[in-house]
């Protein structure tokens, strides 16, 4: 009896760590979001967020940006992942490695490289702030989309594709009715890896001279102004989006698993 206890207790330090530095900060965030500078309970920050056209504009801009970035990443990553996963090329693991390798290079340095190239091409980055931000984020997040797609597509059962072909489906039909639905788990986890960073990683628009705020930049500006209460409210709204997103993608994945059983 004592022996099994010994192993179980090993988890205690990490459990304490998680409570102190993961759960407690979120509770403090709640507290600050619903209090004002004098420490009194208030819903002003909440109302302020949803009635200020600036913050709502930022929320919509971030959502639009994240949507576009996710779609662009998906459109670029899917063909690459598909070709690599279906090819019989011997050293394709090396090619996958080549796509993953940039993740190990500091992202601000990679963005510096991209910025210099874009400057050379466009002359002045200020003319296309939205497009440049989309390019920058795609450049930054692409490996996170390729990897889950590649993993899902390469595990795909080839005999299902053959069966579809034998039953008379054309190549396009096979792709739309078999390959694409079966790669949904990869699309979902790739989307989860790209969508949220696209709403919050404000270093990308900052470095590419896009002065329009995204949700992350709002937190950044409240942080610089020592406005913990309004900053917490923004963080809380982001947290809510993250929870919704996780629930949405999580349930979809479970549905897929259920669907696969049928």
């Amino acid at each position: 009896m004592k022996k099994t206890f010994a192993r179980k207790y090993l988890g205690i330090p990490y459990a304490i760590f998680l409570v102190l530095f993961v759960i407690a900060p979120l509770l403090v965030l709640f507290y600050y979001a619903f209090t004002n500078a004098t420490g009194h309970f208030t819903v002003e920050n909440l109302i302020g967020f949803f009635t200020d056209s600036n913050t709502i504009g930022t929320l919509l801009y971030s959502l639009a940006l994240a949507l576009v970035v996710t779609l662009v990443c998906l459109l670029i990553a899917y063909p690459i992942a598909y070709v690599l996963a279906r090819s019989k090329f011997n050293s394709k693991s090396v090619v996958i490695m080549l796509f993953v390798m940039p993740m190990w290079i500091n992202f601000t340095l990679r963005l510096t490289a991209l910025k210099e190239i874009l400057t050379a091409i466009e002359g002045n980055l200020a003319f296309h702030p939205f497009i440049n931000t989309v390019i920058g984020m795609t450049y930054d997040f692409l490996p996170f989309m390729i990897l889950p797609l590649y993993n899902t597509i390469s595990k795909l059962d080839g005999s299902l594709l053959e069966a579809a072909r034998d039953l008379g489906a054309g190549e396009i039909q096979v792709f739309l009715k078999v390959t694409l639905p079966l790669s949904m788990p990869g699309i979902v986890s790739g989307t989860a890896m790209v969508f949220l960073p696209a709403m919050t990683n404000y270093v990308v628009p900052d470095m590419l001279y896009n002065s329009t705020y995204i949700m992350g930049s709002l937190i950044g500006s409240y942080f610089s102004a020592y406005d913990w209460h309004n900053g917490s409210m923004i963080a809380l709204v982001l947290l809510l989006i993250i929870v919704l997103f996780t629930l949405l993608t999580g349930s979809e994945e479970e549905e897929k698993r259920g669907g696969a059983l049928l």
Binding site: K3, A6, R7, K8, L10, G11, P13, Y14, F17, L18, F21, V22, P25, L26, V28, L29, Y32, I76, I80, V83, L84, V94, V95, M97, M101, P102, M103, W104, I105, N106, F107, T108, L109, R110, T112, A113, K115, E116, I117, A120, Y139, A192, L196, P197, M199, T200, N201, Y202, M207, I219, G220, F223, W228, G231, S232, A235, L238, L239, I242, T246
Partner: protein, 267 residues
Amino acid sequence: MKKIAGPIIVVLGLIFVYAPILILAVYSFTDATTIGAIRGFSLSNYITLFTTPELGSMIWGTVALALVSSVLATILGTVGAIGSFYSDKRIGKTFGAANQIPVVNADVVTAFSLCILLVVVLGVSKDTFIPLIIGHVVLSAPFVYLSVMPKLKQMDSSLYEAALDLGASPAQALAKIIIPQIFSGIVSGFAMAITLSLDDYFIATYTKPATFDTISTYVVNATRGSHTEIKTALWGLSTVIFLIVLAVAISMNLYRGKVKSEERSDA
């Protein structure tokens, strides 16, 4: 037609990913200050990079932070995973859920909330480096946990029982039976922790001492400034890091090939 479409897509993808890094690498060996200008060969960027004390302390500071936080994260994440694996199902599930929070959370939110708790509420000075180190452990320990957990699930549990039956103490059995079996998970968790720490911008910005810079925070500030000498020295830094990453990737591939061929010859 169809035969070449596939490779073309892949090659275009690789060009998109590597062209900026490689072009910047070429220009880092000239004294040009913008891409496109044609200038002669020069090592001035590398001389600036390796002789400017400010750049040196920023690079070594980043590396030291990554090592310290990753060691802590690896220890915490590993014991956490072992403890959670052997706990009751309900506790294990709660553990896993709490561990998942920093993984799915946006870095800005994690950073901001930690800054409020540690600096604003508890009054810990950022100059102590404590908020920064804790922040990086929060960032990376969950990934150690996640890479150790599958190894625990694959593990042959009867070996541990056998060791106990043969008279090993639980601590001995843990060190000699469990740890070796999950070691590959611990190593990849540690590697993950290092890369997360090196790549981080947000945690550092919200928790670091004002006088300390990591590569990320330094680069972002440098691009705002107009100091061209520093700007182009960073091109050199980018090239050096690219070469290190390339060397690590190649040696990892060679090592994996060796392990695979050994496995094959064993079978």
